[in-house]
Amino acid sequence: MACNSSGCESGGCYGREKDNGRKAVDVKETVTLCVKCKCNEPMTFGDGGSDDGRFCAECFRSNVYGKFRLAVTSHAMITPSDNVLVAFSGGSSSRVALQFVHELQVKALKNYEASRDRSLPVFGVGVAFVDESAAYPALYGGVSDAIAWVRSTVLSLSPPGKDLHVVPIESVFGSDSVEARDRLVKLLDSVSDETGKEDLLLHLKMLSLQKVASENGYNRLVVGSCTSRLASHVLTATVKGRGYSLSADIQHVDARWKVPIVLPLRDCVWQEITRLCHLDGLKTVELARHPQSGINDLVSSFVALLQEENPSRECTIVRTAAKLTPFYFNKIPETDDSCVPMATQRRLKKFNLKYDGSMTTEAFCPICNCPLNGSDSSEDESDALYAASCSSCRFQILPQDGSSLEQFGSLLPHHMISQVKHHQKVDSQTYLREKIKDCLLLDDEEAV
């Protein structure tokens, strides 16, 4: 099968390929060709991967980009009218996500300029970087350098221009930075379990991304989680007893948030991502992170061990979890059918993606926002927060005794607390709504 992209024969790729490929040929003394296009010399990365030395640079690249594009188009992640915010940590995955979104945007811009009627607008792109130095004081020094680096990286990706939002993680607690910082530290201090602390911080990070996205008029949040990351998540969720909500977290789209989260790199493994960074000279910055500890760390090293034993293990894990039934919110909400391109509609049909249409679980854990299952209900109703949380958060995040629980509740961001208060009310309302759904005329229905 010949490679369809003409880039393999012509253009800059060939010249670069020659340089990189020749070394490999010298060593092997035999002429090997890319297994896909059969005309270029394959790349060797020397990272011990199973398919090392099989594809040429261009084919490898187009393969990874193809996965990204397929994910984007088949799940209507980004449509022309959208304004997407890319969550950028500086790591490889989010760097690649940013790069790909940029390329998509450049292409859209080209099409826009070339088209006569200019009917399809170019989607907007913004970049968000969460500053976690308030949670990890040890990071403090490195963060300003990192921010400067992020700024220059984002600047280099234009045109089209992209806004950069640097979000301090404590911003979810309010605008007064000193007070917010104080509250964050107190809140984290009151969580005794190391794993719980890590997870709580992750939820806060998501909240701050949501906050900046909705405040600045974005309607999609692109997160660069790759297959390997999700494989670890599948196992950590299982180990923490979150089997019910697991299927919500690993889909391409997660619209339970105000701004839907999309994972376009869900089908790319970590190795591909690092290879791509290496190939394209994409620079990343690794902040000296707080070392992971506890369950999350244990699972990561377990997955790494399994991956070593079988290079496709991560994919298998994610594929298993993908067979679990997703939730109704695991797709872009269809506000208006014309918004979803025809190609996407066809693809959704082709892949026969089925969603659990019934809105059976409308209750979410106020801490981690996971959908709640019947088995999460607690007999102890003395504390509203405790009763409304999922069993995993109750164990690893909430303090065990009453008074510190109350204090913990008072420290939580306002958003979480309001959710607790409305918990009961929303629940019964949606239940009623569900019952009379057939008879209701929706707003957009009238408009059509």
């Binding site: 794993t195 299982t238 007893g241 089997g243 369950i295 244990l298 034993e309 894990i317 039934t325 009453g402």
Partner: protein, 376 residues
């Protein structure tokens, strides 16, 4: 104020058992890390199992129940606890021991000795079925013929049927196995790693094969392996068999915590086991959490196993014309041992021993047959 109260409680716990508050604690309970005394440990251990049995309606009065006894710690403790609870709470069960002898020299013969002692000690009737009786081949013979590759396929397939056939011979209504919480957590993980969604949906159910003639159940579903190890260790009233087992295990340096077959140093399962042990060290509750996850997974009810029929040769449950055991045996007897293995790779029959969670049931037609005269 409450904090100080909690503190004083904690101090008290270091001196007295935190359940009865009377005796000195002798152990830290693996499941909860509570410091408790010996008597309380027996009580919670046995009471938890009793509650599992009652809540899940595992048994009905008057039933004949076979205990799959390997001679390892799990089945030994299960036999003891079940006969105790049966007496104490008047379940009204007829209990039997059922052992399978795969014919692996140095692996099973020692543990079968233990089972024989159990028979005497608890007065439970024992039935030992060997692969030789059932199939005409011991595992040693099979390994001699096919080598160390794929031999687990044979053992796994044969064992699955052997327990059911033995149960049919004893005319029992139910088969209980000593799978503990660690085993189940491990199976959940392995099914995720392997991508087996159908088994993932079922591996946490406490009773399997209810549609078949002989359902299987796991009363130790929520019982930690460590507690099963502790249980006989601190019991004086526990039979001399267990003492024998323990002294045997300790002095002969026989590691009966991991009853790994000598033919199967299974690295893959080993990883998972090791991982669960590490998890338990970090967070004892993780084992129960994995089981909870396994129960809660949103698996569409349409995910089903292939439709079940019966084997044309032996009448055992099978999705194909012949059941796997018959196919494998046919290959063995015709000198073509590779027959039936190719398609099984990574599939139903390629799995190792603990994946015997297939809806287990035995053929009705077998009941009337003598085990030696099974025509294969």
């Amino acid at each position: 104020m409450e904090a100080s109260e909690a503190k004083s409680k904690k101090q008290g716990a270091s001196r007295l058992c935190c359940l009865c508050n009377q005796r000195r604690p002798v152990l830290k309970r693996p499941k909860t890390l509570q410091q408790i005394c010996k008597d309380c440990f027996y009580e919670v251990f046995e009471e938890e199992i009793h509650q599992v049995i009652v809540k899940n309606g595992l048994f009905k009065a008057g039933e004949r129940v076979a205990i799959g006894a390997s001679g390892g710690k799990d089945s030994t403790v299960l036999a003891y606890v079940l006969s105790e609870l049966n007496r104490r709470h008047s379940y009204g069960l007829d209990l039997f021991l059922l052992s399978i002898d795969e014919g692996i020299t140095g692996y099973r013969d020692d543990s079968l000795e233990t089972v024989k002692r159990n028979e005497l000690q608890y007065g439970l009737p024992l039935q030992i079925l060997s692969y030789k009786d059932l199939y005409g081949w011991t595992m040693d013979d099979i390994v001699k013929m096919i080598g160390l590759k794929n031999n687990c396929t044979f053992c796994g397939v044969f064992r699955r049927q052997a327990l059911d056939r033995g149960a049919a011979l004893l005319k029992v209504d139910k088969l209980v196995t000593g799978h503990n919480a660690d085993d189940i957590a491990e199976t959940v993980l392995l099914n995720i790693l392997r991508g087996d969604i159908a088994r993932l949906s079922r591996c946490t159910s406490i009773t399997t094969g209810e549609d078949g003639p002989i359902p299987r159940c796991k009363p130790f579903k929520y019982t930690y392996e460590k507690e099963i190890v502790i249980y006989p260790f601190i019991t004086e009233s526990f039979s001399s068999i267990v003492l024998f087992l323990h002294t045997y295990a300790y002095f002969k340096k026989l590691d009966y915590f991991s009853t790994e077959c000598i033919y199967s140093p299974n690295a893959y399962r080993g990883f998972a086991r090791e991982f669960i042990k590490d998890l338990e060290r970090l967070r004892p509750r993780a084992i129960l959490d994995i089981i909870k996850s396994g129960e809660d997974f949103r698996i569409a009810t349409t995910t089903k196993m292939p439709e079940q029929g019966t084997c044309e040769r032996c009448g055992y449950i099978s999705s194909q014309k012949w059941c796997k055991a018959c196919v494998l045996l046919d290959g063995l007897n015709r000198g073509l041992p590779k027959m039936g293995i190719g398609r099984a790779r990574g599939g139903v029959n390629g799995d190792h021993k603990k994946e015997t969670k297939k809806p287990a049931s035995a053929a009705r037609s077998l009941e009337s047959k003598q085990c030696g005269s099974l025509d294969f």
